[in-house]
Assembly symmetry: C2
Homo-oligomer: 348 residues x 2
């Protein structure tokens, strides 16, 4: 006995052991135990083999199987940051979609580090994953991903990646922004503003564009932007809201914050300034974080359909593996109506 791991080094039962014990040839056992080929074995011998296998508590050695078949029933999921609230449900969705086909997800984090991404992709290719799902890529990652995408099906999700043919499953941020604009118009708002998220995360500019387009079409006045958040956090939301307040001039009757954290920051600043929400100013967020329903006032926000995005990505993996060429998927937003927006009486 060598190390502390000794007790887990019990000699494993192999196909040969089962074959010997059952008095048949190994390949017969192999056939009997494979759902796709057990029809080719006489029912009686099959049952005998199965019972022997069970008695010896035989477990197939996937690794050996993979070496032969080339497939690993494994999907590599590469996420920028597992701590990010919207990433987890995507993974959840992917895992759920592929497990029906007996596949498992292996997960790794880049921490938004370009070099780490390269290493992880290499590692996953070495492990011969059957496909890769990339959850939140940055534009600088494009080349690495395209090379990897040549080796193995690779699906981009969570954040759009411009200038590539790689298959995408994303959320339609543009439609989300538009939807907010149209809701505010219906509630009678005329003068509005945006609190923008960082421009280098592709989702935010799209929300901005969708919203601006929606405003223009609805004939609303959009106040010029006060820059954008460096990172999408409560603190940056506070900074942006203060900027808007300090500028003086006309105050919008409604504000579109590019995500819920920014909205929370704005809420805090407005509360401190004794400006009522939604009585004086209405606010709409984005993401529908779990907390959105529980702040005061409960936040009207656009639901980011992470779970559906993940599920669609998982299904796309299955489709590509089945030899299909699926089209890009864009999951539409849904507005979660709560109490941070109120109707404005027609102007007089």
């Amino acid at each position: 006995v060598s190390s502390g791991r000794a007790d887990s080094t019990v000699a494993r039962v192999t196909l040969h052991d089962v074959a010997r014990e059952a008095g048949v040839h190994p390949s017969t056992v192999s056939r009997a135990l494979d759902p796709n080929r057990q029809a080719k074995v006489k029912e009686s011998t099959r049952r005998h083999i199965v019972s022997v296998a069970e008695r010896l508590s035989y477990r197939p050695h996937m690794i050996a199987r993979w070496l032969q078949s080339g497939r690993t029933a494994t999907v590599g999921v590469i996420a920028a940051d597992l701590g990010n609230t919207f990433v987890t449900p995507i993974i959840h969705g992917v895992a759920g979609a592929i497990e029906g086909d007996g596949m498992l997800a292996i997960i790794a984090e880049t921490q938004d580090d370009h070099d780490r991404l390269g290493n992880i992709v290499d590692h996953m290719l070495s492990r011969r994953v059957d496909a890769i799902v990339v959850v939140a890529a940055r534009s600088g990652d494009r080349e690495i991903l395209e090379v990897a995408g040549g080796q193995v099906p690779l699906i981009v999700t969570g954040r759009p990646l411009d200038g590539t043919e790689l298959p995408h499953v994303v959320h339609d941020d543009c439609a989300g922004g538009r939807m907010v604009a149209s809701h505010l118009q219906q509630m009678g708002h005329r003068v509005v503003a945006q609190l923008r998220g960082p421009a280098d995360v592709a989702n935010f500019p799209r929300r901005a564009t969708g919203f601006s387009d929606g405003c223009r079409e609805a004939g609303m006045v959009e106040l010029p932007p006060e820059g954008a958040a460096d990172v999408p956090t409560v603190a940056e939301g506070q900074r942006l809201m203060k900027l808007l307040l300090d500028k003086g001039g006309e105050l919008p009757t409604a504000i579109f914050a590019h995500n819920d954290l920014i909205a929370l920051g704005a809420l805090a600043v407005l509360r401190a300034a004794r400006i009522g929400v939604p009585d004086t100013v209405s606010i709409v967020g984005y993401n529908d974080l779990p907390l959105a329903a529980h702040v005061m006032p409960p936040l009207t926000t656009v639901r980011y359909p992470s779970l559906e995005v993940g599920r669609a990505a998982g299904e796309m993996v299955l489709a590509v593996l089945a030899g299909e060429h699926p089209q890009d998927v864009s999951i539409p937003p849904v507005l979660a109506l709560r109490q941070s927006v109120r109707p404005v009486p027609a102007a007089g």
Copy 2:
């Protein structure tokens, strides 16, 4: 050309290709490329081989390597539910701790379903994971896990599992409850109550016990419990808080909610009843969800150190794999002081 996957079926470069191209024997290439054995190869041939390998962009075939070595550099992480806020940071921690050793985590969800747990464990053993980390087990899972733990190092984390020798990495919920009691006592509270989480999740009874013990030792009066939440949610928190209010009688000056969601429910009920928090009643939560700092009033709560728990579990995996027999780890709680507790003037 056959299917849509045709382009990903480019013939892979093998060790033999590199050997042929470099004019040496495959085993020499194998040695030259293995950090542990490259000393046994003449420096000049080694460099030559490396350059050829790079030129052909050779990638080692891990699967084949594993078949030989028996190790897969893979840790299986089994979580009850990825959607659960406290699970993700644990996984995050595990993944971070093991990746330094070149290992990757493969992740699967049981959805708190006992049968699924069995399947997943089987699947992971078949994949020959080097170790398993179970994130939130239920007491009924004990047997399955002990059997699995006989095959491969298995570490229990997130929730304690009673009656087993399996190595644990958990959070000290008992100390957490005690810490809340002691804080309330220092703030001058004398009459307190608990809003309990479900008893079948081992964490909650421990919080309850710790708190009760703390109260007794501090000479505080703890009101008898009004049952417990069926599930730890906002809605159940509301139900429990209403029960406490409707009972009439003496109102506690401080309440310990077994988690932040329950606390939120209580907060909502108290607000509706126009009972000021913290002016009339103080509240303490548990978990320190991201939202805790942003509700009104910002919630004083016990931080559940998920990330540290995960990291410790990952390190324990490494230790066990290195042949050590590490001791169970218990990560202590930290109180996040905010504004939902206020000092009570000495009784008159």
